[in-house]
């Protein structure tokens, strides 16, 4: 579903991606972990064209991305298949919850308003927020906002879901409600019930172990270790993985 070949990217003189390569199969859930600044968020943002890269090649959900800026039309087609959930939710404050969810289907896919709303209400029900459909984002808690953001991305009808630290902006007591929704999405698939391919960037080891089939450990713009999360947790090979597990252990205890 996702093929990454020798991706390179720099911000000025700082190299953020230094020849990253990797594969994600259809329906696979991959979690990327690593210290701050290791390039994991940048890699994720390359996958839906929010960032460009300088060298290498990339294929996501059948769309080829090449170095430099892509054509706007190509990007829009890519993005209707690849959705992203942001750390800071980015709900649209001037729209109600249900309007946030129906915006892309109505505007991008041309779905009639009533059927878009019907789908939206079903999705909001899935994330446990059917009763807040007419609320404004400012009336919601952080956890609720992130659940709306997940419903919004599912309404796009995506096959690939990119999650950029979906719980790190939340107070600890709100993280569980979002984790619960993510577990359910990983299990039940997208809006159409088909299995989703998911790439998750997180600091939460628990979430990584629970949710994902594969764990990528990144350092300095490269993947230094990859494998089944439980195995890496039991026998980390790299220093980065050991450090990450130590910190994750501290924060969860």
């Amino acid at each position: 579903m996702i093929h990454i070949r020798a991706l390179h990217k720099s911000f000025g003189s700082r190299r953020v991606l230094d020849g990253v390569s990797g594969e994600v199969r259809q329906g696979e859930i991959v979690t990327i972990v690593g210290p701050s600044g290791c390039g994991k968020s940048t890699l994720l943002r390359c996958l839906n064209g929010l960032e460009t890269f300088e060298d290498g090649c990339l294929s996501v959900a059948g769309f080829e991305l090449t170095p430099g800026a892509a054509r706007p039309g190509d990007l829009r087609r890519l993005r209707s298949a690849v959705g992203m959930v942001f750390q800071d939710f980015q709900l649209f404050p001037h729209l109600t919850v249900v309007e946030n969810v129906t915006l892309a289907p109505r505007i991008v896919r041309g779905t009639p308003a009533d059927s878009a709303k019907k789908t939206a209400l079903e999705l909001l029900d899935r994330v446990g927020l059917a009763d807040r459909a007419e609320a404004r984002p400012a009336q919601l808690s952080g956890g609720q906002k992130q659940r709306v953001a997940i419903a919004r991305v599912l309404a796009q009808g995506v096959r690939v879901l990119l999650l950029d630290e979906p719980t790190s902006a939340l107070d600890p007591e709100m993280r569980e409600e979002v984790r619960e929704v993510l577990r359910q999405v990983a299990h039940d698939g997208g809006g159409d019930g088909k299995a989703l391919t998911i790439v998750l960037v997180t600091h939460e080891m628990r979430l990584a172990i629970e949710l994902s089939h594969t764990l990528w450990v990144m350092q300095s713009g490269r993947i230094v270790e990859s494998g089944v999360p439980k195995e890496i947790a039991a026998r980390p090979e790299s220093a980065v993985a050991r450090e990450f597990l130590r910190l994750a252990g501290e924060s969860s205890s």
């Binding site: 839906n48 929010l50 990007l75 980015q90 892309a104 505007i107 991008v108």
Partner: protein
């Protein structure tokens, strides 16, 4: 605090030391005859010498000097806005007003007047080929003149549409370009600014004649008589004629001076019609009070102000939005063009832009006064709205654009559905503020002969000889227009704020 106090005391002392006007005895004691006039009236009345700034010249300067010499004192000029010469005289800023002051019944009631020193003719100027020769043939036509002149009073009695100007050149400019059908002004102005233009010609017979006189404060009869004697002597011994000849102002009309200045002064010969061209008519008495008719005119002025403001803002908003979008989201060429537009219109005075649009472009495109006014205000305010909208767009976090684009929205869709609705809310207070400012700035378009609220107020103030009541009425109407707007915007703002930051439910 102490410094401020000292400054105020100093200012009071300085102002109290200004020469107070007085009767003849005080003038002689002071050794100085202070006379008021307006340098803006220009050549040949009183004007600043181009070559030696600070030195004033003009036939009235020479007359003032001659009178002073005959009184045994020195003449001293005091600059005063022409339309406020009479109030200035009454306030005591100078001993006499000497600056093309026409002899009218109204002035006679209010101040003392000397014998005349100049006879003027009201001259009708038309476009070449126009065979009409009198005002009565111009029924229903547009006739231009200056505000507060005898010509204006004459036109008020005619069934013509009066177009009022502030400067002496503009009436003839508009006549040349077909915006009016005729201009009526006294012959000194007509000879200099109108009759010399190739496409215009002046009717040789005067529509009416009148005289320029010198004004004194009521009660200063001794000074009045002394100046009258001096003027009569100047007429008798030919000094006045030499002065006027020196300025090429002596003509057959001036033969009337001797008769008109003979003691006792004849009763007000204002606007006495000449020949058979014009039947003599007493000036219609100006309204003395702020009555229902005045109020009606004020409401009309307010309506014009509203139409001007609303329509020009309806141009400014979308144009400003386009400029802001062009400056933010387009390529370098469009960006530069938009920035250049904004800087040009913000960096030059609105008044200048209005002049360019109305007078400057007239040879290319002849805009009506109202069109030019609306366009001028709209184009100017678009520059300000562009900056307001740009600021509001820039205030939206970058993540909103990314979120919209990650959802597959195009740039245009992102702008339309995500960015602009949010920018609109942020910009609302500033936009309302600008609209209120526009409401008041719209008074500038009176230079294009549009009679809106402020212009109506100044006309009424002159008619009623009172600034207080028209001023209050004008202020009240502006307030009545802007206050509800401020309230409405406040309510909208609160509502929008509530939508995005409501109390937790």
């Amino acid at each position: 605090m102490r410094v401020l106090f000292l400054l105020i005391v100093a200012a009071l002392l300085l102002s109290s030391q200004r020469a107070r006007a007085g009767d003849l005895a005080e003038v002689k004691a002071r050794g100085e005859l202070v006379w008021g006039g307006d340098l803006q009236g220009g050549e040949p009345f009183v004007f600043e010498d181009e070559k030696t700034p600070g030195k004033i010249r003009g036939f009235e300067v020479e007359i003032a000097d001659a009178i002073a010499r005959r009184l045994g004192v020195r003449a001293k000029f005091a600059q005063n806005d022409w339309s406020n010469l009479v109030p200035g005289l009454e306030r005591g800023d100078f001993d006499m007003a000497l600056n093309g002051l026409e002899d009218t019944p109204d002035r006679r009631q209010r101040i003392l007047l000397s014998v005349p020193y100049f006879v003027y003719g009201e001259t009708l100027t038309l476009r070449k080929g126009d065979e009409r020769r009198s005002l009565s043939e111009l029924s229903g036509r547009k006739v231009g003149t200056l505000n507060q002149t005898v010509a204006h009073d004459l036109l008020k009695q005619q069934p013509v549409e009066i177009v009022l100007y502030e400067g002496q050149q503009e009436p003839y400019f508009d006549l040349q370009h077909g915006r009016t059908d005729a201009v009526l002004l006294d012959h000194i102005i007509a000879d200099r600014y109108g009759c010399v233009l190739k496409s215009l010609h002046c009717v040789p017979e005067d529509v009416a004649r009148g005289v320029y006189v010198i004004g004194f404060q009521k009660g200063h009869t001794a000074l009045q008589h002394a100046v009258d004697d001096a003027l009569r002597a100047m007429i008798a011994d030919g000094e006045l004629r030499r002065i006027l000849e020196g300025w090429k102002l002596w003509d057959a009309r001036q033969d009337e001076l001797a008769v008109r200045s003979a003691p006792p002064p004849p009763p007000a010969p204002v606007a006495s019609a000449v020949a058979a061209a014009q039947p003599t008519r007493e000036a219609a008495p100006a309204p003395r009070h702020f009555d229902g008719r005045q109020l009606h005119l004020f409401l009309e002025g307010a309506l014009i102000t509203i139409v001007l403001s609303v329509v020009s803002f309806a141009i400014a908003m979308p144009l400003g939005l386009l400029l802001a979008i062009g400056r933010l989201y387009f390529g370098p060429l469009v960006r530069t063009l938009c920035a250049a537009y904004i800087e040009l219109f913000r960096g030059t005075p609105l008044l200048l832009q209005l002049y360019v649009l109305y007078f400057g472009l007239a040879p290319v495109i002849r805009l009506s006064p109202m069109t030019a006014a609306i366009l001028g205000l709209g184009l100017n305010y678009a520059a300000y709205e562009a900056e307001v909208q740009r600021g509001a767009l820039l205030a939206i976090p970058r993540g909103q654009t990314e979120a919209a684009e990650a959802l597959g929205l195009s740039h245009a869709q992102t702008l339309r559905h995500v960015l602009l609705p949010q920018a609109f809310r942020t910009a609302l207070p500033a936009v309302t503020n600008d609209f209120v400012a526009l409401l008041k700035d719209s008074s500038l378009v009176s230079v294009l002969t549009v009679v809106e609220l402020t212009k109506r107020m100044t006309i009424a103030a002159v008619d009623l000889r009172d600034w207080m009541i028209p001023g209050l009425a004008c202020a009240g109407l502006y307030f009545a227009m802007s206050f509800p707007l401020s309230r409405l915007s406040r309510r909208l703002e609160l509502k929008l704020q509530h939508d995005s930051h409501p109390r937790p439910a």
